[in-house]
C-alpha cells in the first residue's frame, strides 16, 4: 500500500487544464462546474492517467476537451452506453460521464435508465439547464410546460421530466443534486459521488445565461436561495429559511412545511440517505417556485444504496468460468467434441 501511495504523482488543478481554448459563452454556468471538477479531481487520490471523461453532444459535452485526462466527446445521447462498455472492460478506471438534459433525458433516455439499473461504477454529471443551448434555444425535456422558445412560440406542450424521480425510479444507487453557483456544495457532492461504488448521478443546476437565463435563480441567488433551497444532509433535520426557521415534517407520507416556532424539533424530518421511501418523497419536492405554497427545492445527496456493480458481477462470472472449466484452450475449442480424420 505504502509504495503504491508514493507512486501516485501529485497533480494539481492546473495540470488538468488542456491547451484548448474554452469555448462556452461568457457567463455560462459550465465554467464553474469545470473549475470545481478540476479542483476536486486532484484530491481524490487517483492517477491522472486512470481518469476518463466521456461526453455526448451539447454544450456541456465539450467538457472532456478541457480536462487533461483521457477523454471522448462522442455522439448525442450515447456517452452512457460508451462509458458502460469502457467500465465493463476496464473496471479499474475512474470514468466520468458528462451529459446534459437533452443528451441524457431526451435522445439518450434509454441508455440513461439502463445504465442506472445495471449500476456501473460511474460518476455521471448531468448538467441541467432546462434548454437546448448548442442548437440555440429550443425547449428541453426538463423545460417547464408552456415555455416559449424558438420551437414553441405558443409555449411548449410537453410535461417535463423530474430527473431525480426518474433516476430513483430506474433504481439509481446514488442520487444527488447540486448547482453551479454553490462551489463548496458542488465540490462536496462531487467527492461523495466519486466515493460511491455504483452509478453516482449528480444533477447540477446550470445556468444558460444566453437562452434560459435565471432558470434557477430563486435557488441560487442570495436574496431567495435560503427560502427556496433546502440543503439536505444525512442525519440532520430538514431545515431551511433565511433564519433557519422553517422545517419539513412528515405527516404519515405527506410532507408539510412548518415554522420551527410552531413545532417541536423532535418532529422535524431527519434526512436519512438510506431511506428509499423518503428519498422518493424528497424528489417530489418539485413545485414551480413561483407558486405560493411551493416546497423548497432540495439539494444534496437524496439516496445512497450499496448494490453490486455490473462490472463486478461480470468479472466474477469470468473467474467462475475459469475455475469450472479452466482457462480457455483455443485448440480444444476449434476441435470441438466430434471430429473425424480423412486420410491422405
Amino acid at each position: 500500500m505504502h509504495s503504491e501511495t508514493q507512486d501516485i504523482a501529485v497533480f494539481t488543478a492546473k495540470d488538468l487544464v488542456t491547451d484548448q481554448e474554452v469555448r462556452w459563452c461568457p457567463g455560462c454556468g459550465d465554467y464553474s462546474i469545470l473549475k470545481q471538477v478540476q479542483t476536486v479531481v486532484p484530491e481524490l487520490g487517483l492517477r491522472k492517467e486512470e481518469i476518463v471523461f466521456v461526453s455526448g453532444i451539447g454544450c456541456s459535452s465539450r467538457f472532456p476537451y478541457y480536462m487533461e485526462t483521457y477523454g471522448m466527446h462522442s455522439i448525442h445521447g450515447r456517452a452512457t452506453a460508451i462509458a458502460s462498455g469502457l467500465k465493463a472492460t476496464r473496471p479499474e478506471l475512474s470514468v466520468w460521464v458528462i451529459t446534459g438534459d437533452g443528451d441524457s433525458l431526451s435522445i439518450g433516455g434509454n441508455h440513461f435508465i439502463h445504465m442506472l439499473r445495471r449500476n456501473f461504477n460511474l460518476n455521471v454529471l448531468l448538467f441541467n439547464n432546462e434548454i437546448y443551448g448548442l442548437t440555440k434555444g429550443q425547449y428541453s425535456p426538463t423545460s417547464e410546460r408552456g415555455k416559449i422558445t424558438k420551437s414553441t412560440p405558443m409555449g411548449s406542450v410537453d410535461h417535463p421530466f423530474n430527473p431525480l424521480a426518474l433516476i430513483l425510479g430506474a433504481d439509481g444507487t446514488f442520487v444527488a443534486r447540486s448547482m453551479d453557483r454553490d462551489p463548496l456544495h458542488l465540490r462536496a457532492i462531487l467527492k461523495r459521488a466519486h466515493l460511491h461504488t455504483g452509478t453516482s448521478l449528480v444533477e447540477i443546476y446550470q445556468n444558460c445565461n444566453v437562452f434560459n437565463d435565471g432558470a434557477f435563480e430563486v435557488f441560487t441567488e442570495k436574496g431567495t436561495k435560503a427560502d427556496n433551497a433546502l440543503f439536505a444532509e444525512h442525519g440532520k433535520p430538514l431545515v431551511f429559511g433565511a433564519n433557519s426557521d422553517k422545517a419539513i415534517v412528515l405527516d404519515g407520507f405527506t410532507p408539510r412545511v412548518v415554522s420551527l416556532a410552531d413545532c417541536s424539533e423532535n418532529d422535524v424530518w431527519i434526512h436519512d440517505e438510506t431511506d428509499r421511501t423518503k428519498a422518493g418523497i424528497l424528489t417530489r419536492f418539485f413545485d414551480d417556485p413561483r407558486k405560493a405554497e411551493a416546497f423548497p427545492r432540495p439539494f444534496g445527496v437524496f439516496y445512497v444504496e450499496h448494490r453490486d456493480t455490473y462490472e463486478d458481477v461480470m468479472n466474477r462470472q469470468l473467474e467462475e468460468a475459469v475455475r469450472l472449466k479452466g482457462s480457455g484452450d483455443l485448440d480444444a475449442l476449434l476441435r470441438g467434441n466430434s471430429t473425424w480424420e480423412v486420410a491422405g
Binding site: 492517477r47 480536462m67 485526462t69 462498455g85 469502457l86 478506471l93 480457455g328 483455443l330 475449442l333 471430429t339
Partner: protein
C-alpha cells in the same frame, strides 16, 4: 424379400414438418452423423419467422435440406431425392422441391382431415391416398401410432410421447442410409441428462425407427454413400454463426486482447451472442445491451479501453448503428461490425437469406466514411473471414464490416479446422509510454496510415478524441477547410492502402481469360462453384471469381476482370456488387438477381451460363 443396397455418390434429403415437430433438430442430427461418417455435405435450414406458427398450416412449415456425398459438395442441392414430411402442409409446401421419381416418406397421422384442411387441400382430397403422387415413390408410416406403441408403459404423457416422433423418423432414415446411431444417442444423453426417462424414451424411439426399417420391408433398397475423398486432415462439422464466434475468440487470443461483444438479440445473428456467452473462460465479455445503438456504443467504449470489440446484428440493427459506425470511423479505433444479412427492407424476411446490405455496408453512413468490408463465402469460411476482419481492424486502426447471411449462419459443412499455431499473427498497434520531453500526437500515423491505439492507463498519453473533425496529427478539433478535405482523403487512403496487405484475387476455377467469368461474393460461392464446375465438364469456357475483400478490392481484380468478354454477377439482391464493379472498373458487368429469400440453385446458374455462351 432381401434388402439390396445401392451405392450412390450423393443424396439430398429434405426434412419438413411443423415448426414444432423438431425438424431442425432432426436435420442437425442427420448432419452430424453424415459428417462423422466422412461425407462431404452442405445444409440449408429454412424455417418460419414465428416460433410456433399455427400448427398444421403452410405458414408453419419448417424445413431442413441436406446434400451429402462421397464427392465434394458445395450446395445443399437444388432438388431433393427424398422428401420426409410430417404433415400435409409440409408436403404441399415442398413437393416442387422433389425430383421426379423421388421418394416421399409421409407420416400418415399428419394427413388426417384436420391437417388436410389446414394445408388447404380441397374437401375429400388426400394426396397420400389418391393417385396424385404417382410420379414419385410414396412410403407412408404411421409414426404417431408406432411411437405410441413403442413407448407404451413408459409412464410418459401424450405430449411427451408425441415429441419423440421425430426420433422414429430419424431412426428410419438412418437405417436407409446405413448410419450409426451412436452420435445421436450420445447427443440425447447429453441434452436430457437431467431427465433419464426422456433419454430412454428418445433412444427407444430412435431404435424403433431403425428396427422398423430392418423388419418392415417397406423400403426395399438401402443406400450406401461412402466417405468423401476430400482434402486429408482432421474435420468437424460447423455452422456459420459458431464459426464466426470461434474466429473472434481466435483473433482475440492471437492478438493477446480481451474480447468484448456488445449485442442486441436479432435473427439470424443471435447465435453468435449465444456462442460467445458460453466461452467466458477465454476472458470473453458479452454485453446484451438495451438496444442496437448501445450495443455498438458499448463496443466503442471497450475498444477505447483496449479490448478487441465487436458488435453483431442484422440489417435493421445495422441501420440503427449507423451513426456510431461513423463515430468509429472518426475515432479510428478497431471495431468489428458483423451483419448476418437477412431479407429486407425494414423487418423484411427475418428468417430468410439475402445479400441486400452490401451497399449499406459500403456507403450507408453520413459524410465520407469508408471502411473495409469482408464477406464470408461458406459456413467454415466465416471463421477465416472474421479473423481477417479482426486483424485488419486491430492493425489498421479502423472499424471493419464483416458480412455473413442467414444461409451461412445456419448452414453447415465439414470443416478442416485449423490449429491455433497455423493462424496468422495479429499485432495490435499500441502506443507506448513516451520518452522524456516527447509530445504525444494521437493522430500521427504509421506506414499503414494507422494511428496508435492509446489506451487509458498509460502515463503521458492522456488525450481526447471525438466525432468532430480532427486536425492532422494533433487530433485537436479543426474546422479548417483545407484540413477537412485533407483528412477525408487521408481516411480514405488509409482504407485503400489495406489492399497492400490482403491476398491478391484468384480465379477459383476455369481459365484466366475467355468469353465468360461468373463473379460472386458471399454465400453464393457453393452454387456458383457447382454450376461452373458442371459447365466446365460440359466443355464450356467459363471461370469463377469469388470476392472476399469487397473494400478495398484486391489490387489485381480490375486486371483479372478485363481478361473476360462477359462478366456475370449473380447476387441475392437487386444488383449491388454489379454496380460497384461497373463503377470501379468501367466493365460491362451483367447482373443476375434472385430475391426470393432462398439461395440460388446451381441449376439455374448453369442455365444462365449456357444461355450467355450460346448467344456470345
Amino acid at each position: 424379400m432381401e434388402n439390396t443396397t445401392l451405392l450412390a455418390t450423393e443424396a439430398t434429403i429434405l426434412f419438413a414438418g411443423d415448426s414444432g415437430d423438431g425438424i431442425q433438430l432432426t436435420g442437425d442430427q442427420f448432419t452430424n452423423t453424415a459428417a462423422l461418417h466422412g461425407n462431404d455435405l452442405s445444409t440449408f435450414p429454412n424455417f418460419p419467422a414465428e416460433i410456433r406458427a399455427p400448427q398444421g398450416t403452410l405458414a408453419g412449415v419448417s424445413g431442413f435440406q441436406i446434400k451429402f456425398g462421397s464427392t465434394e459438395i458445395y450446395t445443399p442441392g437444388d432438388q431433393c431425392d427424398m422428401l420426409v414430411v410430417m404433415n400435409a402442409a409440409a408436403l404441399k409446401a415442398n413437393l416442387r422441391q422433389l425430383k421426379k421419381g423421388g421418394i416421399i416418406i409421409a407420416n400418415t397421422d399428419g394427413f388426417d382431415a384436420k391437417n388436410l384442411r389446414l394445408a388447404k387441400y380441397p374437401e375429400g382430397v388426400n394426396p397420400i391416398e389418391d393417385s396424385s403422387l404417382e410420379e414419385y415413390r410414396l412410403l407412408t408410416l404411421d409414426v404417431t401410432r408406432m411411437t405410441k406403441s413403442t413407448l407404451e408403459g413408459s409412464g410418459l404423457g401424450t405430449k411427451e410421447v408425441d415429441r419423440t416422433k421425430n426420433m422414429f423418423v430419424l431412426g428410419y432414415i438412418y437405417w436407409i442410409y446405413n448410419r450409426s446411431l451412436d452420435a445421436t444417442v450420445k447427443f440425447i444423453e447429453q441434452k436430457f441428462a437431467k431427465r433419464p426417462e426422456i433419454v430412454e424414451a428418445n433412444i427407444k424411439t430412435l431404435k424403433a425407427g431403425y428396427n422398423y426399417g430392418e423388419t418392415s420391408e417397406t423400403f426395399m433398397q438401402r443406400v450406401e454413400i461412402r466417405a468423401a475423398q476430400i482434402k486429408p486432415g482432421k474435420y468437424r462439422n460447423i455452422n456459420g454463426n459458431p464459426a464466426t464466434a470461434f474466429g473472434l475468440i481466435a483473433a482475440a487470443q492471437k492478438a493477446g486482447l480481451p474480447l468484448f461483444l456488445g449485442s442486441y438479440p436479432i435473427t439470424p445473428a443471435s447465435d453468435i451472442l449465444h456462442e460467445l456467452s458460453r466461452h467466458k473462460n477465454f476472458g470473453v465479455k458479452t454485453f446484451q445491451a438495451e438496444d442496437e445503438i448501445a450495443a455498438i456504443c458499448s463496443a466503442i467504449g471497450a475498444s477505447f479501453g483496449g479490448s478487441l470489440a465487436v458488435t453483431t446484428s442484422s440489417g435493421p440493427g445495422i441501420a440503427l448503428k449507423t451513426e456510431a459506425i461513423g463515430l468509429a470511423v472518426m475515432l479510428e479505433l478497431p471495431l468489428v461490425i458483423i451483419n448476418v444479412q437477412r431479407g429486407g427492407p425494414s423487418t423484411g424476411l427475418p428468417t430468410k437469406t439475402e445479400q441486400a446490405d452490401l451497399l449499406q455496408a459500403l456507403y450507408g453512413r453520413n459524410g465520407e466514411a469508408p471502411l473495409p468490408v469482408i464477406a464470408a463465402q461458406t459456413p467454415g469460411d466465416c471463421f477465416y473471414a472474421v479473423y481477417e476482419a479482426c486483424k485488419i481492424a486491430v492493425e489498421h486502426s479502423t472499424p471493419v464490416f464483416f458480412l455473413s447471411d442467414g444461409y451461412l449462419a445456419n448452414g453447415a459443412e465439414p470443416w478442416l479446422y485449423p490449429t491455433s499455431d497455423a493462424l496468422k499473427p495479429i499485432v495490435p498497434n499500441f502506443a507506448k509510454e513516451l520518452a522524456e520531453g516527447e509530445k504525444f500526437l494521437p493522430y500521427k500515423r504509421n506506414e499503414k496510415l494507422a494511428r496508435k491505439w492509446a489506451v487509458p492507463g498509460i502515463k503521458g498519453l492522456e488525450h481526447r478524441i471525438g466525432g468532430l473533425e480532427k486536425e492532422h496529427e494533433t487530433g485537436n478539433i479543426s474546422y479548417d477547410p483545407e484540413n477537412h478535405e485533407f483528412m477525408v482523403k487521408l481516411r480514405a487512403e488509409k482504407v485503400d492502402r489495406i489492399a497492400d496487405y490482403i491476398p491478391l484475387q484468384t480465379v477459383d476455377q476455369g481459365p484466366q481469360s475467355g468469353p465468360l467469368v461468373v463473379v460472386g461474393w458471399g454465400s453464393t460461392y457453393g452454387a456458383i462453384k457447382t454450376a461452373v464446375r458442371a459447365a466446365l465438364n460440359d466443355g464450356i469456357q467459363v471461370a469463377h471469381i469469388h470476392i472476399r475483400n469487397i473494400h478495398p478490392f484486391p489490387k489485381n481484380l480490375g486486371a483479372l476482370l478485363a481478361a473476360y468478354d462477359h462478366i456475370l454477377v449473380p447476387e441475392m439482391n437487386n444488383g449491388q456488387l454489379v454496380r460497384v464493379l461497373r463503377d470501379k472498373f468501367l466493365v460491362p458487368a451483367e447482373g443476375m438477381n434472385k430475391i426470393k429469400g432462398v439461395p440460388f440453385a446451381s441449376g439455374e446458374l448453369l442455365e444462365k451460363i449456357k444461355s450467355i455462351v450460346a448467344h456470345a
